[in-house]
């Protein structure tokens, strides 16, 4: 009844091609952004920022990156935490060795370094596909774990291999409170989401999707697979590199190579599978699912006054979390984003479904 595009006429190509063609959607999105910028900073507690919201924002960025590669270009990677590690260590070394750089420049450079590494590990994708490629990307993970644990130069010869960072300063703005970090992360995420959304709508995204759907056909219609696949690896690793730098500097503060281990790669992959492959919104929903749910599940028994032992609560958390993943995948194999889309379709017909 309310959610309907009746009477919204597009008289220019520009209007027809805008990001959110439906007026209600635009207002809704503006409302969400306004809420995020104006209300959340005043309502949320430090605990919420540090344990829930900030990790969610950073991992969403990483999930978008992985989604561009896996969801849009169809190249499976189970080593994407490695590119986050490259971003984090690149940023650490840039800050340590070239201290005059602005953090925004550091972020971009860290992303570019991660992109180069990503493209290098993407080369096998030109010859191998599917599960075989997944195994090849695993090499990126193990190589990265090894290099940052063993090559002392990258960790500035820290005696235990753990590096630590100073609070980030942007011009005169020191990001030391959880709220400052949140506002900065939110800004970065919005910019990168816009870029990602537009990339997927442009010729690059179309080339990726064509490659994903059928690479032989894509080649026939004039898309160079080398170009499509390597750009996907590059852009995807760029996103993960930036996310890794943010994860290190604004979330962890000090970290060891273990912070970017295979578990994180799997978590990222689960995020996009549960959220929805080939959907930017899915990256958001998936990240929220993976970040928030375990923590919430862990606290529920105590909240509702069920005295469970610590070990029992932890085990219950695993069991429920696991079953929810299975449940969601059974109910909607295309992820939470698809559920959202179905909901929207239903809304358009409501209250008079055919």
């Amino acid at each position: 009844m309310f959610f309907r595009e009746n009477g919204q006429f597009k008289s220019t190509y520009r209007a027809d091609m805008q990001l959110l063609p439906i007026v209600q959607d635009r207002w809704f999105m503006l409302g969400v952004i306004a809420l995020a910028f104006l209300a959340v900073p005043f309502v949320a507690t430090d605990y919420l920022f540090l344990s829930i919201i900030n990790p969610f924002l950073i991992l969403t960025l990483a999930a978008i990156g992985l989604n561009l590669l896996v969801g849009y270009c169809g190249q499976i990677s189970i080593g994407h935490a490695a590119f986050m590690a490259w971003g984090a260590y690149a940023a650490y070394n840039l800050v340590q060795r070239v201290p005059m750089l602005n953090f925004l420049v550091v972020l971009v450079l860290a992303g570019l370094i991660a992109a180069l590494v990503g493209m290098f590990f993407g080369i096998p994708s030109l010859r191998i596909k599917g599960l075989y490629l997944a195994v090849a990307t695993l090499a990126a993970q193990f190589f990265t774990d090894w290099i940052f644990a063993r090559v002392k130069w990258f960790t500035n010869y820290a005696h235990s291999g753990s590096v630590s960072t100073a609070p980030v300063t942007l011009f005169d703005w020191t990001l030391d409170t959880p709220r400052d970090k949140y506002l900065f992360l939110l800004g970065v995420l919005i910019v990168f989401t816009l870029i990602a959304k537009n990339l997927t709508r442009g010729h690059l995204g179309r080339a990726w999707m064509a490659t994903r759907d059928m690479d032989v056909a894509a080649e026939v219609i004039g898309i160079r697979p080398v170009y499509a696949k390597l750009t996907a690896f590059g852009v995807s690793s760029f996103y993960c590199g930036v996310a890794g730098a943010l994860w290190g500097f604004l979330q962890l503060g000090s970290w060891e190579p273990l912070a970017f281990d295979l578990n994180l790669s799997f978590s990222l992959l689960f995020m996009i599978i549960i959220g929805g492959m080939g959907s930017i919104l899915g990256s958001y929903l998936g990240a929220a699912f993976i970040v928030v749910l375990p923590i919430a599940l862990n606290q529920i028994p105590r909240k509702i006054g069920v005295p469970l032992s610590t070990a029992m609560a932890a085990n219950v958390e695993f069991m429920i979390f696991g079953s929810l993943i299975v449940l969601f995948l059974v109910l909607e194999p295309h992820g939470l984003a698809r559920l959202w889309a179905i909901g929207k379709e239903k809304l358009r017909l409501w209250p008079f479904p055919h």
Binding site: T45, S160, A166
Partner: protein, 447 residues
Amino acid sequence: MKGRLKGTLALAACAAAAFFATSGTALAQANEQFFPVLVYRTGAYAPNGVPWANGYVDYLKLVNARDGGINGVKITFEECETGYATDRGVECYERLKGKGPTGATTFQPLSTGITFALTDKSFTDHIPLITAGYGRADSVDGSVFGWNFPIGGTYWDAADILVQHVGKKLGGMDKLKGKKIALVYHDSPYGKEPIALLQERAKTLGYDLILLPVTHPGVEQKATWLQIRQQRPDFVFLWGWGVMNSTAIKEAVATGYPREKMYGVWWSGAEPDVLPAGDGAKGYNALVFLAPAGKGAVHADIVKYVYDKGQGTGKKDDIGEVLYNRGMVSAMFGVEAVRKAQEKFGKKPLTGEQVRWGLEHLEITPEMIRKLGMTGFMEPIHTSCENHEGAHAAMVETWDGKKWNVVPNSRYESDMKILEPMIRASAAKYAEEKKLPTRDCSKEDGA
């Protein structure tokens, strides 16, 4: 519908916010001192995490049941499961740091990785971190690490004491020249900590150091022990945790490496480390950190006041295990720090900042140890603003197939002439990296 959907969404968001928001709020103002308890009762390291947690919680319960709290201030506590994972540890920290009328007293994460992450936060949150027998070796320097207390010993102490012990076994430190020492270590900050000291010592003593990392969780060590078979080191130092320890001993049996020449750090010398290896573990050595296995007056009290009332955290039979005792002693540090700080600030709930004063003026004399019922389970401790460690001695114990026996005349103190400059240099580097201001201890000590 759109409106209603939005309403539902908003409601859900509010509910979620309220759900998490109440996590951080303080309970009603009460005469209570809140102790957060970070534990791991699940996961790969649970066999070692559980006895430690039981000892820790039992001691807190004992202080409440026997003494009615610390000078009348009741102890409250809440456990949070970290699973030995750094990110969950940090989440637990954030969840618990604001609880109780004055916030958390002190955190003891029992994980070097979590310690590294929390150290970062201690500078703004002002909650002391007690890392008895783990954590950063350079955090002894209280002028940089204002909130870390590696009370009783660090990994550099442990490594130094092991070198001294094997030197003595050979008949003099000069005999170490040309010998080969292999370090089999957990490939994490925990396992890497001792490397710097062992390398420093190798420079003057002239032994060869072979570094053999083992990846988490340490069940796959075939390649490591193949190298030991090839290189035949004269001694193996084991820096493992959890299942890695028992696996290493089993691999030593399979390789035919004599257990008598294996020396574990104090985290590789508890019952869960040797029992799975059965008879093969006989002759294996490890360091004793403060408390060996066994029972004293304090254990009798724990049985009487806690277990006989049905309040015990674990099984009665497990009281007195190595890690149980270590957890108990760790809890004692926190309690005694509060008691000390109460002398200055009054018998009321204290903030983390006040507890730090207590931790920096901790003086546990032999007389006090006797009163605590811990004779034989404690070294005298004396801390200050510059020295957050308080003691740096340890003993060596050997497993005879049934229990741990302390080797006679095996109490060593680490050589501070070597450690001191390393600690200062490393702390200074950390301060520079983090752009931290250092404290001037000479001005603060009287305060």
